[in-house]
Amino acid sequence: MADARGQMRPTISPLNDPRWRSAIVQIVLCLVVVWLAYAAISNAADNLARARIASGFDFWTSTAGFDISQTLIPYTTQSTYGRAFWVGLLNTLLVSALGIIFATIIGFIIGILQLSRNVLVSRLAAGYVEIIRNLPLLLQLLFWYNAVLKALPNLRESLTIPGGAVLNNRGLFLPKPIWGADMMVVLAAFGLGLVAAIAYHIWARRRQALTGRQYPVLTVSLLLILALPMAVFAGLGFPVSFEHPEMGRFNVRGGIEILPEFAALLFGLSLYTAAFIAEVVRAGVQSVSHGQTEAAYSLGLRPGPTLRLIVIPQAMRVIVPPLTNQYLNLTKNSTLAVAIGYPDLVQVFTGTVLNQTGQAVEVVVITMAVYLTISLVTSGLMHLYSQRFALRER
């Protein structure tokens, strides 16, 4: 072996050559992994054959034969296991989406209160975060479900809430709105208002860039988006009627039913994740140095615009990545539904379907694949975000 200058390199034994070593290590590792996988698969085939459990995905189209307490798409006991999967997945997505919205709102409020100069307020917010973060989520869910919601009055002694809602230990029953035909006009007015508000926003921005004059964008937008459809709604004579829940002998009929399992899960998840989001928000706002605020003041910006134009955009860069992480955690934590019997993906699919079919490998693999897809897609989007908004330093 000769290098560029034609000199001979010292010969090393392959045992000490890093390239040889790493090649050998990697080959051995791959062989071990392949052997483990082979052993696992052949064992599984043996065990399944002995227990006479079918394998493959044929069960997907066979009749499920069990009922699910909350379904967003039509589902009966005659539906297939595949249908049950979609029902469970939609229930998971529903509770996660609502949980994310509530947790974000509560979390931002608490996080900002933690930064308040009012000692009482900041200590209270910090106390909330400390208590919630140091208790297991499962304990909190069981508490909300068993000690609070199940302790509500029973069917006979249902509480009626003004406005026609009924509350008992079987859930919350709300009046169900039945929209009239004229509702389409109101919807159209809403769409029109939205488009007009966006157009006004763009126009006001251009004007401000040209003339320096500021326009009341927020007020006009609110008027266009909210007041316009409301006016149309009132002008058409309120084209909506309500189907009120009726007290039956054994059950409540009609109306929108909110299961106590759903309420407990949503409540517990939102409050738990809000504590973590509050910490994320606090850290994000604190990461913006005070010099930025001072510089904004010396440019003549008032506190409101300083926060909106200077502090929040910089804090968001720090907040967003861990925030999405919390959203993912919330979605993953929604699997605790199985403990209180909310029919989410894990409860329906890994619970009931697994018990009925016995096809552990297929069912667990499908469930994991769903969560893995959600995680990978989200972290891919996050990667794009952080590339787009990364701090450009010279």
């Binding site: 790493s22 290590v25 990697q26 590792l29 791959c30 992994v33 052993a39 696992a40 064992n43 599984a44 043996d46 065990n47 399944l48 002995r50 308040s116 100069r117 009012n118 000692v119 009482l120 307020v121 209270l124 400390e130 208590i131 973060r133 140091n134 208790l135 297991p136 989520l137 499962l138 304990l139 069981l142 508490f143 068993n146 000690a147 302790a151 993953k332 934590n333 699997t335 605790l336 199985v338 403990a339 894990v346 890994t350 697994l354 552990a360 490998v361 667990v364 469930t367 994991m368 969560y371 893995l372 995680s375 990978l376």
Partner: protein, 383 residues
């Protein structure tokens, strides 16, 4: 020019006047902190109202209205002369052995106590700053103590310790065993995975990456389901591991993936010069990692390691779902016992569990924060 001996020039300084009463002392503090603006006044009032809503009912439930003695549910029922009943503590006292040991045979419970002591010694040895011989401590915690605990808890007939099957274990014992196994196995595994993920060998890097991202992408419950229903299929029938062992494997793998990311962050925090310095001294990979890089990386990640252990400790409650009798499960079982069936039993059980979990997690997080503060100040002084 007026000189020092002019009669109209003071020769001594005027003593400083006290600050105005409204600006100092508790009154000034009150004005500055709580009542500085109309919004602040409103916030203060709202906070006081919130405290009024939460604190008095909590105190009266846990202490003032609580029942402290009794034999069965009759003691904790509301009567005409006692309309408000608080926590039913005799329920907890009577079941305390169940909450701590589960169904572990009563005459063998000293073995569990001994295990708690052995674990406590290991934890204090490793975490306290004042105890020397940390290397011995690490050997004790990661090798000696697990073996002793295994012999103590499972049993070892040649030494006269009779065999106790894991189905009888329960309560705090199981919670502690699951978290201890998670911690003892996750740290070494996590270090290996973190090193693997930063390795120069593509196959090693890819395998570590797949494992870490896969485990972190799925919920713990599905990992536990995998361990409890799929694992028995993947091993020969004769080996079929018992239920607790399966859950322990699931928890250890799950914790290892999270620990790997924590350690990786620590490794990234070690400056490149340290690697280059070690290489310049002619150290090989393992010597460089073991003697130079890991000691620094692990020291700066102690707070994060403790934080991830807090998360693990809270997550151990999930083994409940695959049918293991952990502390929370014993509460769930005890609270529906007809002997103590009252409207307050559930809440009492949950309050007891909350106090237990909060105390443990809070102490750990205090420790982590203390270490963090110490590391920051040491860093500052060094510069």
């Amino acid at each position: 020019m007026a000189s020092a001996n002019s009669s109209f020039v003071r020769t001594e300084a005027i003593p400083a006047m006290p600050p105005p009463r409204s600006e100092s002392g508790w009154l000034g503090w009150l004005r500055g902190n709580l009542l500085s603006s109309p919004i602040n006044i409103a916030l203060t009032l709202a906070s006081l109202w919130l405290l009024y809503l939460v604190v008095p009912p909590l105190v009266s439930f846990l202490l003032l209205d609580a029942i402290w003695t009794g034999q069965n549910r009759d003691a904790c029922l509301a009567t005409a002369d006692r309309p408000h009943v608080g926590a039913c503590w005799p329920f907890v006292w009577e079941r305390i052995n169940f909450f701590v040991y589960g169904f572990y045979p009563a005459n063998q419970r000293w073995r569990v106590d001994l295990f708690f002591v052995a674990l406590g010694i290991g934890v204090v040895w490793l975490l306290s700053r004042h105890i020397p011989y940390k290397k011995l401590g690490a050997i004790y915690f990661f090798i000696v103590m697990p073996i002793i605990s295994m012999i103590l808890l499972v049993g070892f007939p040649p030494l006269g310790l009779r065999y106790v099957e894991t189905a009888l274990w329960g309560g705090v014992l199981v919670t502690v065993v699951v978290s201890a196994v998670g911690i003892v196995f996750s740290l070494p595994l996590g270090i290996i995975l973190a090193l693997g993920r930063r390795s120069k060998m593509p196959a090693v890097r890819l395998l570590s990456l797949i494992f870490i991202e896969f485990v972190r992408g799925v919920p713990l419950i599905t990992v536990l389901f995998m361990a409890s229903v799929m694992l028995p299929l993947f091993v020969p029938e004769s080996w079929s591991p018992d239920k607790l062992l399966r859950a322990l494997i699931g928890v250890a793998l799950f914790a290892a993936a999270y620990m790997a990311e924590v350690v990786r962050a620590g490794l990234q925090g070690v400056p490149r010069g340290q690697y280059e310095g070690a290489e310049a001294l002619g150290l090989g990979y393992w010597k460089m990692m073991g003697l130079i890089i890991l000691p620094q990386a692990l020291r700066i990640t102690i707070p994060n390691i403790v934080n991830s252990n807090i998360a693990l400790f809270k997550d151990t409650t999930l083994v409940f779902i695959v049918g293991i009798f952990d502390f929370l499960r014993t509460i769930e079982v005890a609270r529906i016992d007809p002997k103590w069936a009252t409207p307050v039993t559930s809440t009492t059980g949950y309050a007891f569990a909350a106090i237990f979990y909060f105390t443990c997690c809070w102490m750990m997080s205090r420790y982590a924060r203390g270490v963090e503060r110490r590391l920051v100040t040491r860093h500052r002084r060094g510069r």
